[in-house]
């Protein structure tokens, strides 16, 4: 009898240890704008929780949302809100998308540091990006052809910019489409006649962010949405998060997590 009870205790102990030693794997993917936040947060979270493995990837907001809908991601990073048809597709597949605002961002309109233009109106930005203005002299600058850089259409930054600045109009055909914020920031930094747009986290001394409608892209202006190109950044989960997924979202929304948001160059909510 004693031998039997020993076997039971040993078995239960083994199962408990095996369960305790198990690793939770979470997959995060989507917006390249949210990517720096997700990467920093994942790193810190994994340090504090060795039993959790977070795999973080970019790909663009559309790709991330599609992955959440397909069940290949646990979290979809998005620099825009889900579209109505994406929500409908998700619901049809039994996915219940729940939004979490993790940060605020301003889409900074950037020029080469030598460009004399300091301010652009939304109307001027729209005309530049839709092909109605092609020379800097038309907006008070030098007589030089504008080199227009844009994010590609899979990007949430592109969608947000098109919605906030272009009134849904199409980007001019000769615009150079780039797959990342970094590529745009680097190209604008090396091209005197260029104009581009990036998330706040990609600003550097090599490029100049103009004011839009005479409003500077500052933390306060973004948080209050006074800056015209302000937007929230999202992480989407399937239903209300539970377990380690909840712990990770809670971590990003905590003061410590929001400090990481600021470290990544975005505007924390706290």
């Amino acid at each position: 009898m004693k031998k039997l009870s020993n076997i039971i205790v040993l078995s239960l102990t083994s199962i408990t240890l095996a369960l305790a030693g198990g690793t939770t794997k979470l997959r995060v993917g989507g917006s390249t704008t949210v990517l720096p936040i997700a990467q920093l947060a994942a790193e810190e979270f994994m340090n504090a929780n060795p039993n959790v493995t977070l795999s973080v990837q970019g790909g663009g907001s559309g790709v991330g949302i599609a992955s959440l809908i397909d069940g290949t991601s646990d979290i979809a990073d998005a620099s825009r809100a889900m579209k109505d048809d994406e929500i409908k597709t998700a619901v049809a597949k039994g996915i219940n998308p729940v939004a979490h605002v993790v940060a605020m961002d301003g889409i900074a309109v950037i020029l080469h540091s030598t460009n004399k233009i300091d301010n652009l109106t939304i109307d001027q930005i729209r005309k530049i990006y839709t092909g109605k203005i092609s020379n800097w002299k038309e907006v008070g600058g030098e007589d030089r052809k504008i080199v227009v850089l844009s994010r590609d259409s899979a990007s949430g930054t592109f969608e947000a910019f098109a919605s906030l600045a272009l009134n849904g109009e199409k980007v001019r055909k000769d615009a150079l489409m780039n797959a990342s914020n970094k590529a745009i920031a680097t190209t604008v930094g090396n091209t005197p006649a260029a104009i581009g747009y990036v998330g706040l986290g990609y600003l550097s001394s090599k490029i100049k962010a103009v004011t839009v409608e005479n409003i500077t892209c500052t933390k306060k202006n973004i948080l209050t949405k006074t800056y015209p190109l302000s937007r929230p950044l999202f992480m989407y989960t399937n239903g209300k998060p539970k377990g380690e997924l909840k712990n990770f979202i809670d971590f990003i929304l905590s003061k410590e997590g929001q400090e990481l948001v600021e470290t990544a160059g975005y505007v924390g909510l706290k």
């Binding site: 809100a81 929500i87 979490h100 605002v101 948080l223 209050t224 003061k255 706290k270």
Partner: protein, 422 residues
């Protein structure tokens, strides 16, 4: 308790304050009018209850939660009957100049067209559709000429149908519906696009192949016991192939067999009597049968020089004609610009040439703007369309058509349209 814990405790306290305030207002956040919620949250920020970040989070998440619930069908601000309905329509103002073959002087008139189309979901896979439109009983026109001392105009039932769709593979329609829902034609030289056919249609799709079938009733003429034999009707069989790569190209071809059970020795409403006929007393009767075979094709290429370039062709032969002459027709066309005009600045140019011999096809079916919709004609049509703004399209449509035989009487027609879609 360290500083971080204190801050988080303070934030949680703030959240409770928000919830309490919302509860005191007597309604949940999702039901609040957006403006009211904005004002409330801004007031809480001003009073220092919450910070700007929390305010933005509340506003954004409330909006997102509401949008998700609405798209998931969990909540709606609309009555149930409206949720089941989908309404759309258009209004067109037309200035029409014509130098018709049978007029000694040219004619100018202004016409309007108003259409209201609705669809209601009945059950999974089933829907009912209807369309109301201006115009009289002419099956080939929904235009209403502005005339007669401001008389009020009639609204007619343009179509009404029930439809069942079996996902991907099959669809069935029953009732009165646009011909292009029953079978495919790339031009209107045989079928005026305003015609709504009456009967039953079934479409089958398998991968890149399709088969459109339909049985359409042309008239009611028989006694009850002779209905099957006497009522003229049309059987359509249209196998086809649809190949393509989204955003790059599309190729569609189809062969169509039109089988009329009887047309010979009959008289039809709205016939133009350009088909061969004989007369008994004062009544005209068709001399021929009109069973037809037709071959159609359309190639579209996208984002090469223009956003869209399309080339189409169509040819038909009346295999029941009693003579080998004057029994065939053809049309070919090219279009470039935008595939469809939906937005400001989009444009399309289209050109179609057509030739339709006297007994190639029944003369109450072709495009009514081409020489009055008659057969025994040939000529060209040029169309230019431009998007003035979203859903507002300016169009010019010019026809230069002449008859094929006898004394040649050319006809010109210019339509200037502005169309508003909603």
């Amino acid at each position: 308790m360290n500083k971080t814990q204190k801050t988080e405790k303070r934030m949680k306290k703030s959240e409770w304050k928000i919830k309490t305030v919302l509860a005191l207002f007597g309604f949940c956040a999702i039901a609040l009018h957006a403006g009211e919620l904005d004002r409330l949250v801004n007031e809480l920020v001003e009073k220092g209850v919450i910070d700007a970040g929390k305010a933005q989070e509340i506003l954004t998440l409330t909006e997102e939660e509401m949008r998700t619930d609405m798209n998931a069908g969990k909540v709606s601000t609309l009555p149930a009957w409206i949720q089941k309905m989908n309404l759309k329509g258009d209004f067109r103002f037309r200035n029409q100049w014509e130098a018709a073959e049978d007029d000694t002087v040219s004619r100018m008139r202004q016409r309007i067209r108003f259409r209201l189309n609705g669809e209601a979901a009945v059950a999974q896979g089933f829907k009912v559709g209807f369309g109301l439109a201006t115009g009289g009983s002419d099956p080939r026109s929904t235009n209403q000429t502005l005339e007669n001392s401001f008389e009020t105009k009639t609204i007619m039932l343009d179509y009404a149908f029930a439809n069942y769709t079996f996902p991907k593979y099959m669809g069935v329609m029953l009732g009165k519906f646009y011909s292009n829902l029953g079978f495919w034609t790339p031009t209107d030289y045989m079928w005026d696009t305003d015609i709504t056919v009456e009967g039953v249609a079934a479409a089958f799709n398998f991968k890149k192949l399709f088969l459109n079938t339909g049985l359409y009733l042309l008239d009611e003429k028989g006694l009850v016991e002779d209905v099957i034999a006497d009522n003229p009707r049309l059987l359509v069989l249209q196998p086809g192939l649809n190949l393509g790569q989204a955003g790059k190209y599309n190729l569609k071809v189809a062969g169509t067999y039109y089988r009329f059970n009887k047309t010979k020795d009959l008289t039809f409403d709205d016939a133009k009597w350009t088909n061969s006929y004989y007369t008994v007393g004062s009544t005209k009767f068709l001399t021929n049968g009109y069973n037809n075979v037709s071959l159609s094709g359309e190639v579209a290429v996208f984002e090469k020089i223009f956003p869209y370039i399309g080339v189409c062709f169509e040819m038909n032969k009346n295999i029941e004609a009693e003579s080998d002459i004057a029994n065939s027709g053809m049309a070919s066309g090219v279009a470039f610009g935008a595939e469809k005009i939906k937005d400001k600045g989009q444009w399309q140019v289209k050109c179609i040439y057509r030739k339709l011999e006297k007994d190639a096809w029944l003369d109450f079916l072709p495009d009514s703007d081409t020489y009055g919709g008659k057969t025994d004609v040939k000529g060209s049509e040029f169309i230019v369309q431009y998007g003035l703004t979203r859903n507002v399209v300016l169009g010019l449509d010019y026809y230069s058509i002449e008859n094929l035989r006898g004394t040649i009487k050319p006809e010109q027609l210019l339509q200037t349209d502005i169309q508003f879609k909603f």
